[in-house]
Symmetry: D2
Subunit: 288 residues, 4 copies
């Protein structure tokens, strides 16, 4: 929660064997690092060890710029680890993609403006001009890239260039009603977060509230997930649901769904910003 801290977060997974946990905690303790949070989990079926550890760098004796190298040499090689190391002074930089609906956009920007998140939001990208006034309210640059079948590759290329020039580290699709190409997606593996307005895998694709109404379900949901090249099939980060009844029309479902969508998306974004997510075999590990 404290934003001015000087900390490191390490996320890793590797084949499970005895001694990993002890080795990692010793690595931090021996060099005078103060562990602030540690969460680990072993997938016994697949024999994979997962871990997130956060420690204070103020007293840590290894210089920040050498930690990656030391950890690679002393631990990652030995245990065959995949790991990512993050420092609190490198703020994630987030781009929002939006079409015409404001509810998720407002929720993201309100948290940002209120200082709830340790993140920068330098820009909003849209395939429609409608949300520009919302961007203006919050003083954020708005880029309008109309997309059609013919210009899609070209427009995405421009978007990618823009994202690169602004140092964007991850993208959030806040009800962006345009399918991204595999080429685009492959530039941001596990770094594009989408909100789908159904309880996936139920009601994939278009018009899920209409489909939910047609099927007569008693509960509707929303799902935030990392975008992969399989539509609505990427690793799920967060889901939530709300109860409905036979009296609720499609319009009521759309209305009730808005709160679900915005809260579920914001929870997922928060987990990503806090470096608490890790994907493995199209599933996520979400640390506490």
């Amino acid at each position: 929660m404290k934003l001015n801290d000087n900390t490191a977060v390490l996320l890793l997974h590797c084949p499970d064997k005895p001694g990993i946990l002890a080795a990692v905690t010793e690595f931090i303790n021996q060099h005078s690092g103060n562990i602030l949070y540690l969460d680990q989990y072993v997938n016994r079926e697949e024999k994979v060890f997962f871990m997130r550890v956060k420690w204070d760098l103020d007293t840590f004796q290894i210089p920040k710029e050498k930690i990656q190298d030391y950890f690679q040499t002393l631990l990652a090689s030995r245990f065959d680890m995949h790991f990512r190391l993050y420092f609190s002074d490198a703020k994630p930089r987030m781009a929002i993609f939006v079409s015409k609906m404001p509810h998720c956009l407002y929720d993201l920007l309100s948290r940002y403006a209120a200082g709830e998140w340790h993140v920068d939001i330098p820009l909003i990208i849209s395939n429609h001009p409608d949300m520009e006034p919302v961007a203006k309210r919050f003083g954020i640059e708005y880029y309008y890239f109309p997309v059609n079948k013919d210009n899609k590759a070209e427009q995405e290329a421009k978007e990618l260039e823009l994202l690169k020039s602004k140092g964007i580290t991850f993208c959030v699709l806040a009800r962006y009603m345009q399918i991204l190409s595999p080429e685009f997606i492959n530039h941001y593996p596990d770094r594009i977060i989408n909100i789908h307005h159904s309880f996936l895998p139920a009601f994939m694709g278009a018009k899920p509230y209409h489909a939910a109404h047609e099927r007569g379900v008693k509960i509707i949901g929303a799902t935030s997930h990392y975008v992969t090249t399989d539509l609505d099939a990427g690793p799920i980060i967060e889901q939530d649901v709300t109860r409905i009844s036979h009296v609720d029309t499609v319009d009521v479902l759309i209305h009730k769904g808005r709160d679900l969508e915005k809260i579920v998306l914001s929870r997922a974004v928060e987990k990503h910003i806090e470096r608490k997510t890790l994907t493995y075999k199209n599933r996520t590990v979400v640390f506490q």
Copy 2:
């Protein structure tokens, strides 16, 4: 809740037009019936009126055996109603179908034995002998009909005969792991209740917990529905969900799912027993 009452319940639907509600309540009021509960709902898109009304028969001036006829003549014909009339002294008679898992069976029988429900349960039918000891604990007859590809039609015919001879009005599939034939199902339209161990329409068919784990969902569910000839696609009566996380194995999902399944099934059975459900175009109206 009171079981020794002398009441009627009327469930109906018809094309919506002005005056239906007034006409039905006047029919009851004029003949000195005391309305105990009334719930109505209009589907404005399809212009259909739905209603459930329960009234006290003690002071009602139309003799019980003539109410059906009078209502048909005076109201149903006029408003083109489909209606069902139930009396509290005609207890529903329920048959339970079970295979090898006891949790739903115990939950149904415990409520029955505790006197929670206004129902009779004269028998349990199974395709396995395993649950006979549970039936015995509660003093209920247990019929074992082993079913395979070759004898299925023959065994179902025997089951139907048995159900008929015992005056069964509806069937509950309490994790019955055998698909009923369309012939069987057509004998009990909207009167066979199944529990499916997923949040339908996600994960239809076999092994939904395995599929949920594979997909990496963050919430699992259970769904009770009326059985139709489309597998797992009948009108949904009740659903509920519970949160899971990446640490939960398939075995844990199965374990957590048990409570969901039993509670969701029992809620649906209760709604059916209380004559609070009505189906329309493969959806249910569930009155309060």
Copy 3:
């Protein structure tokens, strides 16, 4: 949902007796009103009838300005009704009271700016200057009334005058950390909505998250209610909860609670705007 409609909403309660429902629906039907929504409920213990009905005025034969009088004469007197009549062209006018926390304020203003609600929000009142920039983002007037023990009566008098001059019909306390005097409250009976950051009646008063943490509860909640002169004891409109665990510090509870607070408050405000709430003996009836 449609905002440009021409409709009336009638909310009423009266002693229960046969024929009320029929009389009210006939009153509307006879004069060619088209009922769009009707919900009724009878409290059998206390023998009180409650009803909400919404109808289209386009074809209604009684002139709008005479409906109140006709209904009083023809029905309300006869059945001893308390009723309120609302027209869709008289938009409710809402004032927001806020102190230093932005999350509820942003949620209310975002919905307003997105056009979700049929309401006007002419002003925001605060006992601190902190939220003025948020008001500016949305172009809403912000009035700063610092309150202390000595000037409270005087400041509240000014606030009341301001509210009157702006035609405010109800007030929303969006985490307003200042107790209103009985004099103030009595000007807006059932028309001041507060959000309390606990599952009332648990943890009334100050610092409910600290108290919840101290008690070791496994679930926290939020409660929106009409303000009465009894602190945190007015009629509850809406509540919701979220699961916590032993790992959650007070700061985490405060953080998790924000989403609860804003959603619960906005749901209550929406019900109020849609004229779906009615209070009776310090409880609310909330129509669907």
Copy 4:
């Protein structure tokens, strides 16, 4: 889940300092124990370390009867630990206390009879004779101890003797409507589990559903907790809630509450049986 395993569970807490986690995992790894599950949590405010670890004893080189002693000497003394060590072959032995309501009793016995839990239930104690037939269904001894003001001390003494003679390790109050004396409670610290039919700390004491209805809450709850000498104020193990509305009478609340009570109680009992609970300063740590 597997019941025939040969495992140890260690629960501990101690002042937090670097190296505890490494020391405990090394203790198990060095002597060839295979860790099956590990969960740890640090309370940073109070600087207390909590841990639960479960390992396979089949390959563990320290003889089972010496583990307690070795762990005390090598680790507990060094880190000032409070710890408890459990072996899977020492099944917990549970006594159920009940009065007149069957729903929690049935739920506990059904799970027991279905083999869901690694526990023995040698007896049921009651202050009423009513539930004896339920005990008989499941073949469990039923002891009837009528209690009044005059004989309470005497009856409790007999109950304690009986519990001791049957080797009972913990008690479950399954809607036992009789307050236990401090003397009784002190014999089973953190080993008497109660279910209270409200969302504690709201509605402590008698008739919580009546109080909830009177207050007009929109959600009701149930709470399972360890019994202490402060009525309804012991460490909370589990809570859950369900939504209600203005139409629900006290009888409906009681009816809806039954499912809550039985599920919440059974979840708490399961956590206790699996040695996943630890109390600290009137709060519980509940491991996953």
